[in-house]
Amino acid sequence: MITLSRASRWYGQVIGINDVSCEIGPGLTALLGPNGAGKSTLMKLVTGQLRPTTGDVLVFRERPFANTRVFRRIGYCPEIESCYEDMTGREFVSMLAALAGIPSSQRASRCADALELVGMTAAASRKIGGYSKGMRQRVKIAQAIVHDPDLLILDEPLNGLDPVGRREMTDLFVKLAESGKCVVVSSHILYEVEQMTRRILLIDRGRMRAMGDVYQIRALIDAHPHRVAITCPEARRLARRLLEFPYVLSASLDRADDSRLTVETRQPDQFYDDLPRLALADGYQVTEFESPDNNLEAVFRYLVKG
């Protein structure tokens, strides 16, 4: 449904996306990347708000820029928070349903259905100005699905939702994808994406880094030496004990503060299991531990180097 061939988009000197080629078909695909990676740019190219600087972007085999034939089949949930603050949720969805070409005879019932699907029926008569972040997110999703599009482009749709809301919306996206639609969801949180789909596109600094099954990418991530910083009064002794584990690659003491220790491991899950056990058994007072690597950007850096 979506084809990018060597598509690049610059904003003056700034690169939005750089030489991206990919095809996205039916089902749920997650677009994963840290903030500023180019996810929104890619979505704006697909939803016909931007033209590629070079290369080509095709949606339903057509160029999407200001193309009403393409827009008829697209539902788009932008990342922006601002909205028509004076409208009620229902008016907002109804207006966009009308612009999507839904005749007035069907509009009320289609809007009611969409609002029901996102769990906003109760608040639909209230002004958007008074909505919480999560409610805004829900009506934005409602306007994207109200005209039953074949392609759904959702830019960080889970931002601002509480855990229950995330769960509900994730289930909705999965259901829509299972009904044969092409659903593209962007996110910068790996955990969030893993709950939705196995098919992901990794994007970082404008480039497509990996494409495919999330487990493969997970494996890549796991192969990446994972660092854990530990604060413990007996850091030197703890370091010696930790180095006895086969999966611990290195342990180094902080030169400035000898109660701080940095450990590198290839099996973080195993390490996180063993550390508390060891601390309990030998009586180490671990006051703090954190992983500076436990975020996508570190993984991306690793993948880029690899």
Binding site: L50, A66, T68, R69, P78, S82, L99, P103
Partner: protein, 383 residues
Amino acid sequence: MVERFLLATALRDLITARRLVVAALLILAPSCVAIAIRMGMRESFDGVATYGALASLLVFGFVLPILAVVFGTGAVTQEIEQKTIVYLLTRPVARWRILASKYLAAWISISGTGVLGIVLLGVVTYQSRPGNGNTRLYPSSLRDARAFLGRLQTPDDSITEYLRASLSQPTGDLLDRWDPETPPGRRLIRAVLRDLNSVISSDRRFYSKERFAAISLPEDARQLIADGARGPAVARLNRWLIEAAFPDLIRTSRTTRNSLARDILVLPIGAAAYGAFFLFLATIFQRALIMGLFLAFGWESWVPMLPGNFKLVSVMTYLRALAPHARPEAPSADLMQLFQSLSPESVPASLAWLVLAATTGASLFLALLVFSWREYVPKDDAV
């Protein structure tokens, strides 16, 4: 159906509480000034002149441009600033149709507000005994018959000489025999007015540049001269010329009603031209509102008064040609009058129609073209 919906939505967007307050103030402002003048001047209040001055300076010169800037640019910049334009531009509606609806909504808002303002001004300046719109002179048209006939009896300038010479032989004899120390008889007045009325109704040679060189002609008379008065307009011009030549002796024939009717027609034309132009600005520039305000109150208020052909690059020049107003002459020559005396010629109405139509058409076309083609994605959150 989508068009009607788009229009309704665009109108609703424009009519925010804040804009309504501004619009209400703009509607009321000229009338409030008129009421203040009316209360201050009491008996000597001249409704027609007050209407002309306020319609020209406040409604056309201030209210219309500011409304056009606010509504014309507001139609687009609000959506861009709030980023909600994304929702409109990703719907299966051609971009030009979205913008055309917004333009129509802006035009309705500008025209509606402007017309309300001018109608209200017409109401508060209304007088039951103004000019009657008739170009004929009646005995009641003379403020001071004795002084007027005295001037005709002993002409001391080219205008009175011309008028004296156009009197018929019997009327001339009657005038010569009259002793200016006594009040003129009804027969004399009737005879003189009959002869002058025949000059007014059909004499196309009454106006000449040399003859009226010393007279500061009001804007509406200058406009008729520029348009080359023909048919009934000849009578109107001649009557206005006589009024201008004897401002203290002859009452005005102008009526607020006639000016008001014309202004109600011309305001929407101005709204269309200004609205389209500011809409075009808004499709190109992020700071269209500020640029628009600068153009409306810098360019549009000063350029029309510049000498030479500079004034031809201002929309206001052409609007004034379609809706010229007779303003009362200020006792001291101010800067505006000085400028006006440097470029007294008006633009012909036919040219004004053409230029306004072209401005509206070209601005709207360019706005639709740019809007259909341009990317409206704010740079800061583009990535």
